[in-house]
Amino acid sequence: MSHPLEQLRESALREIDAAGDAQALEAVRVRYLGRNGSISAWGDRMKTLDPEERPVVGRLLNEVRNAVNAAIGQRAEKSRSQQESDSLAKIDISLPGTPQERGSLHPLTQMLDRGIAIFRRMGFALADGPDIETEWHCFDALNTPRDHPARNEQDTFYLPDGRLLRTHTSTVQIRAMQAAPPPIRVIAPGAAYRRDEVDATHSAQFHQIEGLYIDENVSVADLKGTLEFFTRELFGADTAVRFRPHYFPFTEPSFEIDVRSKALKGGEQWVEVAGSGMVHPAVFEEVNKARGDDAYDPEKWTGFAFGLGMDRLAMILFDIPDIRFFAQNDLRFLRQFA
């Protein structure tokens, strides 16, 4: 027959196991291990035992006490974790999370950033110039004759003091060349203005990325490679790019650039995206005159320049049907590009 302490252990473990909640478990603990608990009682009883029996029973008492304590601890831990998972089970994980207000960048900003990123990978640095320009920077230095139609008041906004709002970012070409000798490899994102009636494709203010590369032996092939890379990076590798001879006073030869891509809406149509060409030697000569040196010797240096219509590119890329959306800033429009 087993020792009564062992019987106590068995019954205690049984009761611990059966305890339904923390309260019941505490009652079990008090019953066995409390001050007057049935196991605790054996501590007092030790004195009454035979001296040779004491160490044996003492060891057993310790053993039983530890076992029961451990079982209570385990049972409590189990019940706590049960309780926690019971309460978490009630959480409806389909409830909407705490909202974070998200803002958005304007689609034109995104378009400019994408364009700038591509050119920077090709080693272009940025350049900048003012929106209010002199007639010299906008026209004379760019080989535009005095009586060229673009210069008249029907096409260009003038200020009362005779300055004007630049009609293209090509003005930055001149500023960059005035500021530093060749080689030059820069792009200039910015606004330009034309006195156009506003409609779905025309805006009085629009945005361009101007590019200028002047170095020894820069060729039409380099211009082609640069803009082909750009348009394919932007619209996808299977974008067809077409160079069409054109006329600009400040480049010769000059080209307009069309793209066609199945990835774009109306993918079968050629869409004009840029003007470009080899910097006209007359531009170099005019810059030299202003610099008072011969830094841009047209016999030594050649260069290409281009101007990309960023509003147009954004309209193509984001499938935006009307240029006026850009300046209206309707949040329902802006947030589509968040």
């Binding site: 909407p96 950033d113 906004f157 200020l159 069409r244 001879p245 800033n329 802006l334």
Partner: protein, 785 residues
């Protein structure tokens, strides 16, 4: 300019397919804007006359027509149109005809009635959009005749000619270009004109303005019979959009569209004395052919007789001396006018004409007398008359442009392509250039009279690449390392600022830098444009506020409940228009864009939100100060290092009323450069605190007027070395509680730390007590336990 393909064909063989021609021109630099197919190109459609019409027995909407097709036998056609009457002549598609829409006409039975063909609308014939009814033909049309004769097929190209290529503004000119691009021979039916040119004499002709008019010729043709033009002439000029007037005027227009040289015919009998080409007198009045009277200035060139101006040189003839039905004798003008002078005059008088368009771009000096001769011959042929043996002429034809020298190596280098000198020579020859000098490495070229745009070697290189085809040049992959510069750094910082604001829940707006007049009243004025186009674009924005308020207005009207936007862009500071980069922030409406289940109330965005956004921008040494602004109900200045860099506040009720926004509108605008410069410094490591901090709270009741800043300043003046920070964490004011009037309660958490050791409780208590004591003593704060 509109070109008739049939007309072009007279001078050069064209590719069979129009699309091929369009591509050839496009890739050659001549942009085709539109291709319009005209006329009919279908067999078995004839002119028929409706002889009877009756209701279809089995269909309400159909009629049964009896038509005469010229064969002698009546033909029965079932028809759905209602716009005709018996006796009308209409197009009849016979069985076997194939319409442009693919429909093949068969003899068939419609609802039990036999129909032997179909009566057609304009749309069914492939021209026009009119599908509403039958195309009613002229009663002159011959019954049974093929419709092709009535509407000969042609294709009209609408072509954009760049301003440097005035030589392409005629059918002969464009044909010459096509011939060069495709390497086909050019037919010159007017070649003989050069040989037959009559002698020149000077009688009765004077040029007083030789600079504006270097050369003028006039030929007298007597006894002409003015009347309607023959059908072919009429059809030709109408095909390119010119209205037929009479045979003389039509011939003049025809020659312009054929050869590019404008001519003008005067009624000689209405001229008083000889021709004088001179500048107008100031205020000289002139009644032009368009029926309007123009007041001229000395910069306008006029063709005058002894008494008055009879034409604005190169722009428009005069009403009083124009050719009319009663004209017997004409004087035919053909001249060269200075492009710049014509451009100024046409623009200043707002009187652009087909003639001025060509003179502005420079006409071919080599064509002036040939065109005169061509027109004379046509007048003789069509209107009869005898032409003077001699042409009256004054001045000198502009000399040909100097020869241009081209290095073959330079050509290769600019194009990035090796082209054999022989090929280069051949390309240039195709465009009419003639080699005048030749060496191994370079050659010199004589420029034809019609190509005044070819002035230097790069111009010739462009001709080479156009003939060679730019698509044959392969793009190269060439780069160069480039140092970044101030513009790069500025762009990057701007981008990160934008991204930060977007991450905080603000949407970026980009408003127009051109603002309407109503906006100018706001702020200190703006730079106005000298020549605004519309009321919306009158001035350069001096600030971002008007643009962003416009955005608020638009979105509010669209039902937005939360508008939190920013703009980062240039403004133009009057009076000089200094360009500054500004950041504008506007907050209005709900703090949250949608209600959420955990938030009991959706509070309104307010000044504290605006301030929080500004504080997050890392503006160095940022502070705020109460300011004055008529447009702001609550105005504060934003300072950095004690310099005002912008303002923030709540819009005044009056200002708000202009956009009818309910609730407060919070707006800030500041210079961007101070923010960006702080971002530019590279951050370096500082050791992370190793020893724990101890926090103690202070709650106090103070007069309502005492500001948070004053309390902080006092805590700072204690100069307690262990104090790391003081954070306000609770605030309520008198009216909400039992504090009593004009009092408020604030609670601060003070954090104490020594970076080199762990603090003892006693030290902290002592430090804290010092601060408490000062607050009590100096601010009269009532401390709460």
């Amino acid at each position: 300019m509109k070109f008739s393909v049939n007309w072009l064909r007279e001078f050069v063989d064209l590719p069979n397919k129009i699309d091929k021609l369009a591509e050839l021109l496009t890739l050659g630099g001549v942009e085709i804007e539109a291709i319009e197919r005209r006329g009919v190109n279908i067999d078995k459609i004839i002119v028929a006359q409706i002889t009877a019409s009756s209701q279809h027995p089995n269909a309400d909407r159909l009629t049964v027509c009896e038509v005469n097709d010229g064969s002698g036998t009546k033909r029965q056609i079932v028809c759905g149109a209602t716009n005709y009457k018996v006796g009308d002549k209409v197009p009849l598609a016979l069985p076997g005809a194939k319409l442009p829409n693919g429909l093949e006409i068969k003899k068939n039975t419609l609802r039990g009635v036999e129909s032997e063909g179909m009566l057609c609308s304009a749309k069914e014939l492939g021209f026009g959009e009119d599908a509403a009814g039958l195309l009613i033909l002229s009663l002159d049309a011959k019954v049974g005749a093929s419709i092709v004769d009535l509407f000969p097929s042609d294709t009209i190209l609408d072509v954009e000619i760049t301003p440097n290529r005035g030589d392409l503004l005629s059918h002969y000119g464009l044909a010459r270009e096509i011939s060069a691009l495709e390497g086909q021979p050019l037919r010159l039916p007017v070649e003989k004109l050069a040989d037959g040119a009559p002698a020149l004499q000077k009688k009765g002709l004077k040029i007083a303005a030789l600079h504006e008019c270097p050369f003028y010729s006039a030929r007298k043709i007597d006894n002409v019979k003015v009347g309607p033009s023959p059908a072919w002439l009429r059809a030709k000029i109408e095909s390119v959009g010119i209205r037929s007037i009479n045979n003389i005027v039509d011939i003049s227009n025809f020659v312009m569209f054929e050869l590019g040289q404008p001519t003008h015919a005067f009624d000689v009998d209405k001229l008083k004395g000889g021709i004088n080409v001179r500048l107008a007198r100031d205020g000289e009045k002139f009644l032009a052919l368009d029926g309007k009277t123009y007041s001229l200035a000395p910069e306008n060139l006029v063709i005058a007789d002894d008494e008055r101006a009879v034409g604005i040189g190169g722009v428009m003839g005069g009403e009083e001396t124009g050719v009319t039905e009663s004209t017997r004798n004409v004087l035919l003008e053909s001249a060269y006018f200075l492009p710049a002078s014509i451009r100024r005059t046409a623009r200043n008088l707002n009187l652009p004409s087909d003639a001025s368009y060509r003179f502005e771009r420079g006409v071919d000096p080599g064509m002036i007398l040939r065109a005169s001769q061509r027109a004379t011959e046509l007048i003789r042929e069509i209107a009869g008359g005898q032409s003077a043996k001699e042409i009256a002429a004054a001045g000198k034809l502009p000399a040909n442009h100097s020869d241009v020298s081209l290095s073959y190596q330079k050509c290769d280098q600019v194009l990035g392509l090796a082209i054999k000198p022989k090929a280069v020579d051949e390309f240039l020859a195709r465009f009419g250039l003639r080699k005048s000098k030749s060496a191994k490495t370079r050659s010199t070229w004589k420029i034809p009279s019609y190509r005044r745009d070819l002035q230097r070697d790069v111009d010739l290189i462009e001709e080479v690449v156009r003939a060679h085809g730019v698509q044959k040049i392969s793009g190269t992959n060439r780069s160069r390392f480039t140092l970044s510069n101030a513009a790069d750094r500025s762009h990057d910082l701007e981008s990160s600022l934008r991204a930060r604001l977007a991450a905080q829940g603000l949407s970026e707006a980009r408003t127009s830098k051109l603002t309407p007049r109503t906006a100018i009243a706001f702020g200190e004025g703006a730079i106005e444009l000298r020549n605004p186009l519309s009321e919306d674009h009158v001035a350069l924005r001096p600030s971002l506020v008007t643009g962003l308020l416009g955005v608020l207005d638009r979105n509010m009207r669209a039902g937005a409940e939360r508008v939190a936007i920013f703009e980062l862009g240039r403004v133009f500071v009057p009076p000089a228009g200094k360009e500054e980069r500004h950041l504008g922030i506007l907050l209005w409406g709900n703090a949250a864009s949608a209600p959420h289940w955990r938030t009991r109330e959706n509070r309104q965005l307010d000044f504290v939100d605006l301030k929080g956004t500004l504080e997050s921008l890392k503006i160095p040494a940022l502070s705020f100060r109460r300011g004055e602004d008529v447009d702001l109900a609550l105005a504060t200045e934003i300072l950095s290092w004690n310099r005002a860099i912008g303002f923030a506040g709540q819009l005044s009720a009056q200002r708000r009323s202009t956009i009818s926004a309910p609730g407060g509108v919070f707006f800030a605008e500041l210079e961007v450069d101070p923010i960006l410069s702080s971002d530019e410094t590279t951050k370096t490591f500082r050791e992370i605190e190793k020893f724990p901090a101890v926090t103690r709270d202070i709650a106090m009741i103070v007069p309502e007027k005492l500001s948070h800043a004053e309390i902080l300043r006092l805590i700072e003046t204690v100069n307690e070395p262990l104090l790391e920070s003081a954070q306000l964490f609770d605030l309520f004011s008198g009216s909400e509680s039992s504090l009593g009037p004009a009092r408020k309660s604030l609670a601060y958490r003070l954090t104490y730390r020594d970076r080199s050791r762990t603090l003892t409780s006693e030290e902290v208590t002592a430090a804290h007590a010092k601060i408490r004591e000062r607050l009590q003593r100096e601010l009269g704060a009532e401390l709460r336990e």
